[in-house]
Amino acid sequence: MLSVKNLAVSFQTRRGTVEAVRGISFDLAKGEILGIVGESGSGKSVTSYALMRILDAGGRIKAGEATYSGIDLRRVAERDMGDIRGREISMIFQNPRAALNPIRKVGHQIEDVLRRHARATRHDARAKAIKALEDVRINDAEARYDAYPFELSGGMCQRVVCAIALACDPRLLIADEPTTGLDITTQQAVMELVRDLIRARNMSSILITHDLGLAAQYCDRIMVMKDGLIVEQGDPARIFSDPQHSYTRKLVDATPRMGEGIRSLLPPEERKAELPHQVHDRPLLEVSNLTKTFKGMAGPVHAVRGISFSIRQGQSVGLVGESGCGKSTTSEILVRLMDATSGDIIFDGQDIAGIPAQGFARNPRRAEIQMVFQDATDSLNPRHTARQAIGEPLRRLGALRAAPLAARIEELATLVGLPLPLLDRFPHQLSGGQKARVGIARAVALEPKFLILDEPTAALDVSIQAVVLNLLVDLRAKLGMTYLFVSHDLHVVALLCDHVIVMRAGEIVEQGPVTRVMTDPQNAYTKALLAAAPKPPARRQLA
């Protein structure tokens, strides 16, 4: 149905021409779901934009052919392309909130596409739009027709985007990272919905994702892209059991799965023995009845509703939950950036809940509690070089200057595996993995007793996630730190932690040793979380 031959796309930028896609060929059969998997910069999204002819300014299809049911997508006139988009080929974008017009009712946005392709008249558009909403399993579609995007949750918005994409019965659906940024249970619901709709309508689909496990679960065939080239393609089970290309092997290894150690994320030649970390009996942190209530427009919002737990010295505890469960609020309170409404935090024998967050910067305890932030890009000052960022805690809290400061910065860079010449670069000149390393180096600069890791790998590619997680394991053993690892991903938590706390709606629903929670969850919510995670097919056995 779709046939792509030697497609090449290039972008004109200030620093010359960038070859985003360098000659790829593939065919898509009717009814087939094709997964395109690759990390950032692999050209997977650009490929789909090129097919839809919606490349950004400066981008153009340099060579190759793309034929859809006999139509040459590269040469067809722009006016005809407008007819093809939406009716023949449609697309679901990564961020559903950004894909919807924030000031129009979602029902009207569905009508727009129906009217554009003359699938509805003024009289029956409303009924058809409601039907489209019902098709994507939105409850009470009548009422949702009048909702604005901001009134809906992320998962709901993505359903609306699906409804718009599918409203005119296209025969090819391109889904570009449709569930990135959604909660894991929502991801499962959206993916199953998309798959069922595609199967029911006998459509073809291209699923673009960075998650090999997700692609394996929902696709008939997987194509792995790297640097604008297809490095491998084949059946999902075969990709996992017998990857041919070294890059595919690396991706397969880096995909977290149950029951395997953290070192197994790395390529076999880089797996060193895991250094043991010592867990003492003495509690380092004891939290009791912690609550946080925000003043909201519509009455108080209870973000944290009286949680209690304790962390022993040297222990790594995972704090797991979906967005809005209060895990980030809890970590901000523990790191003393926010004051709790009530409750005690006994840190190393001292109650720190009573010390206002406002003046905690000058508290002697400041150096002992540190944090690695979720978004490495956002957490580095764009005007400071890596050297300045790592040096900041050493200057301010460690009172280091001149030569000892420079020596310590270089020591830290070496510790986190950041090449020394990169120290004089600004954040925008570093890659995602390098920025994560700078953030970690800054957090461990003063050898804190307690380190909070707030989804440190959420914004990273899986292969870099593998390296960063292993780095954290090494640092824990070398520096004897206690970790609180905040994450939405139980599998990642299981790799790193000894103990896990599951939060939902501001309360702890389950906590216990990680092996017990993973294998024998007691709470229904924990079970749902575990069941929602994509299950990658069996991996090749190491000889």
Partner: protein
């Protein structure tokens, strides 16, 4: 590792970056060249001009431009070219001083309001709204008329009418960054609130501020010249563009156009230069432009 390969060349320094920005954009280069000319004539002009700008010469009054008097002479025989060049120093000094004052004042007010918010923010905003509700030139006239007719008071008046622009800009830039990750991180590394604000947040507001500064320098020159034009502030016979235009305007009808046109032209060139300068200045202070 998929990290990008490490280049062993040192990252470009400030000078390299400056040269890069100037080469990348010819308009910026032109603006900087004109700016350099204006600064040079402000610094060295009074020492280099061919005539004393205050020396009258009744025999040579109202001479058209010639090789001896490039811009002609005025009604009392003073050399217009010398007066135009000498006036650069005064006009530039007034505008730079006024802009510097409003930059500092506006930054402090805006940063405070944007970072702490609350009632402070509300009070400051209403205060700034009040200033902006006046026709700004009329407000400046009022201030100079009330405080007295001196150069300092022109500077204060120009500064006050420009403060709201800076304060609003800084407030917005600080406000969007006060909960950014790097701000939280700066608090964790032991920075007090004031340090976080001054050393981490405020520098990030500089790129848009630079555009504002350069546009504002143009406005400030116009404002100072305008006040002098209507007889406030600088008094004759001091060479100043606004006064020269005002005095020369009387002679345009009788055909002596050069008295008003040349100072007016210089005023225009100065404002034009500052307007062009903005984008270049922003590129220079923005580290993200360094590749």
């Amino acid at each position: 590792m998929t990290d990008i390969p490490v280049k062993l060349t040192r990252t470009s320094g400030t000078l390299d970056h400056l040269i890069y920005v100037l080469r990348a954009n010819p308009v910026t280069l032109l603006a900087f060249a004109m700016f350099a000319m204006i600064v040079l004539s402000a610094v060295f002009g009074p020492a280099l001009v061919p005539y004393d700008p205050l020396q009258t010469d009744a025999k040579n009054a109202l001479q058209a431009p010639s090789w001896a008097h490039w811009f002609g002479t005025d009604n009392v025989g003073r050399d217009v070219f010398s007066r135009v060049i000498v006036a650069t120093r005064l006009d530039l000094a007034i505008s730079v001083a006024a802009v510097a004052l409003s930059f500092v004042l506006g930054s402090v007010l805006g940063a405070t309001a944007g970072y702490w918010g609350g009632w402070l923010d509300i009070v400051l905003n209403r205060l700034l709204d009040t200033i902006m509700a006046f026709p700004l030139f009329v407000l400046a006239m009022g201030i100079v008329a009330a405080l007295g007719n001196t150069i300092e008071n022109i500077i204060y008046a120009t500064a006050i009418i420009n403060v709201p622009f800076y304060a609003r800009l800084v407030r917005a830039e600080v406000n969007i960054r006060r909960n950014a990750g790097f701000v939280q991180a700066a608090k964790l590394t032991g920075n007090s609130d004031i340090r976080v604000l001054a050393m981490h947040i405020f520098p990030n507001a500089l790129p848009p501020m630079m555009v504002q500064v350069s546009l504002n320098l143009g406005w400030a020159i116009l404002n100072a010249a305008g006040l002098s034009f209507i007889g406030l502030g600088v008094r004759p016979p001091t060479p100043e563009w606004g006064i020269m235009v005002a005095e020369g305007a009387n002679f345009i009808v009788s055909g002596e156009w050069w008295l008003a046109v040349f100072p007016g032209l210089w005023l225009m060139i100065a404002v034009f230069t500052f307007n062009l300068l903005g984008d270049g200045l922003r590129d220079i202070v923005d580290p993200r432009k360094r590749t």
